[in-house]
Symmetry: C2
Subunit: 367 residues, 2 copies
């Protein structure tokens, strides 16, 4: 995908990273993940690493990607052919970098050892959080791409909703949804689309299967699109026919908990506190064990990225962060419900980026 329409301002981002490196006493950073490479230099290929020093940036990649890389990265970023990681690492040895940051959350131990072997005089420093930090605050261009991803996914959902009826298979709905997203300009689905109906709704991550929808089903549809690297993520649960009293009660509790979460989000708040708002709402309705996952996650160049909105979420929320709020309740082998919106945090609070109406009244489809 070309970056032509949305110049990602790589140079400004590289400077932001350099300031953080200096602040933390690092001389350089080695970025080996696709989203990091893409964010800081625009390269969309899936091999190689970007080395950022105080004065330079260079992308090391293999022979399959050197032409593409030269087209994608700004002139200030050198492209260096290195067909294996170790070869690139050996070239760094000549630079005698005192302290080099790396992404410890994803760098495989075997690659780490190649770095250690090649760079005897370099201290390797875990720097994932620092490298990630600029990405947590979405700039105007990123917000626009996320909006485009949301628009594409919602337009596709509207086209496919008439298929959500008894007799249609879960995966047929998923296939049509992703086809419409692709035709509308998505690079890809944001993740394997979940269409979980009836008892399969009790699987929080049950991707669409062969099961045909049946009258009376609750159907959880969790879907999103990817646009120029940026993801959208949203979940609706609909009923084929009138929900039972239990379903209605649980759905309303999940909806209320979700709305409470969106309303409570504020800059300066700890992510775990936001998780607690949602969790306490469900607990007050007697739904504790049924909510078996975190409240949400950041969304951007990765479908799951910081901040984690969970009991373990120690991020202090800040304006410009984009994350999901997605409580759910699951009744193993019976049914489930999850409602998810994407929110951008602004000075005054959270603003929904996804727009589908999730009130119960809109969630009842014909059986």
């Amino acid at each position: 995908m070309s970056t032509t329409h949305h110049p990602p301002d790589n140079l400004r981002r590289l400077d932001a990273l350099r300031a953080l490196l200096a602040e933390h006493g690092l001389d350089a950073a080695l970025l080996h993940t696709l989203p990091s490479r893409r964010y800081y230099c625009g390269f969309t290929g899936d091999s190689g690493f970007l080395l950022v020093t105080a004065t330079d940036a260079a992308l090391y990649t293999d022979g399959r990607y050197t032409t593409q890389a030269a087209d994608e990265v700004p002139p200030a970023v050198a492209v260096i052919r290195a067909d294996v990681f170790a070869a690139g690492a050996r070239r760094l040895a000549e630079m005698k970098i005192p302290r080099l940051g790396y992404e410890e959350d994803t760098l495989p131990i075997a690659r780490f050892r190649e770095l250690e072997d090649a760079l005897a005089s370099t201290a390797l420093v875990a720097a994932r959080e620092l490298i990630m930090a600029p990405r947590l605050i979405k700039d105007a261009g990123e917000q626009e791409l996320i909006r485009e991803a949301v628009d594409i996914a919602e337009a596709a959902y509207a086209e496919v909703l008439p298929l959500v009826k008894p007799g249609v298979g879960e995966r047929d709905i998923a296939v049509e949804l992703e086809y419409h997203m692709r035709r509308l300009g998505a690079e890809d689905r944001a993740f394997d689309i979940i269409v979980a109906s009836g008892s399969r709704g009790a699987l929080p991550h049950g991707i669409a299967g062969a099961r045909p929808l049946s009258p009376g089903d609750a159907v959880t549809i969790d879907f999103g699109a990817r646009r120029h690297g940026y993801h959208s993520d949203q979940t609706c649960t609909v009923f084929l026919g009138e929900p039972s009293a239990e379903q209605e009660r649980v759905y309303r509790a999940v909806y209320a908990a979700q709305q409470a979460g969106i309303a409570a989000a504020r800059p300066g708040m700890a992510a775990a506190a936001l998780d607690a708002v949602v969790r306490d709402h469900l607990a007050a309705a007697g739904l504790t064990a049924e909510f078996s996952h975190g409240t949400g996650h950041g969304v951007g160049l990765e479908i799951h990225e910081p901040p984690s909105i969970s009991g373990r979420g120690d991020t202090i929320l800040a304006a410009g962060m984009v994350f999901t709020i997605e409580p759910g309740c699951y009744f193993p082998h019976r049914w489930g419900v999850r409602l998810e919106d994407m929110v951008i945090l602004e000075a005054g609070g959270g603003r929904r980026l996804t727009t589908l109406d999730k009130r119960l009244e809109t969630a009842v489809l014909p059986d």
Copy 2:
């Protein structure tokens, strides 16, 4: 995706792994990658790890996946809820495992350190090759799934080929191809489909872009489907109108090199020797620098897996291995050609699994 139709014989595979562990003096293995988990216990979720000891197997996964896991794994595999990797690792401490193998090629250094911290009395041993070894030889069930993936991709290609004509955008072809693969039963495209036309054909991994096809283009289409976890992979290059003399010469050279590779493959041969057969053929035609990547790669639960058919490929080829043979020539900013088939190695030599005719005579489409 259910494994109901293709019971993967997890118990036999676990026993094969146990025999290898014993042979290498290991007491257990920790498998953290999705393909490894899927191969050895059938779990298709994307979180958790499988611990295999001489007598037991247990899948540690988080609350989103415990119900799904219990449905997917055989009764002999325990499912243990562990919401973070470190929690699972701590539970292993009680087992006092003397020597534990792990997948060093992909285990992130941060996870490795959690293991080290939790397992003070355990020696951690890099064991990727050992854990991977059974997967290199495809059993009958795996071969059948690969054939299904090939069939789906080829049927979709046949449906979409009429679109390969001037004026149609590269990505429109890719979108239709993946839609047809999905409708025909693919879980997913096997990878981002490449439709690289005209000068974009010089990008070995240039995924489909906005460019509309033009008369005179060479168009490289690299595509595949995924079926119950197993991938197919194939590349055709077609011409919109008569190729130039240079294009014809290069295409024929690539085709001849590819055929020579398929004909030369034998059990007992080193992968690098097979790469050399293909490379030497192109070199004899004066095409050395233009062939800027390896000859091929294994295909199975991963789209790229061992054996690597390249100058660095030290695997000794054996019957039951499935890999690609895919020479290409790239002329930066001008055009490119690549031809790829999947081959299964049998006692008597290589047998093509992909069936599309790639002779030049079949590669010329109307302009």
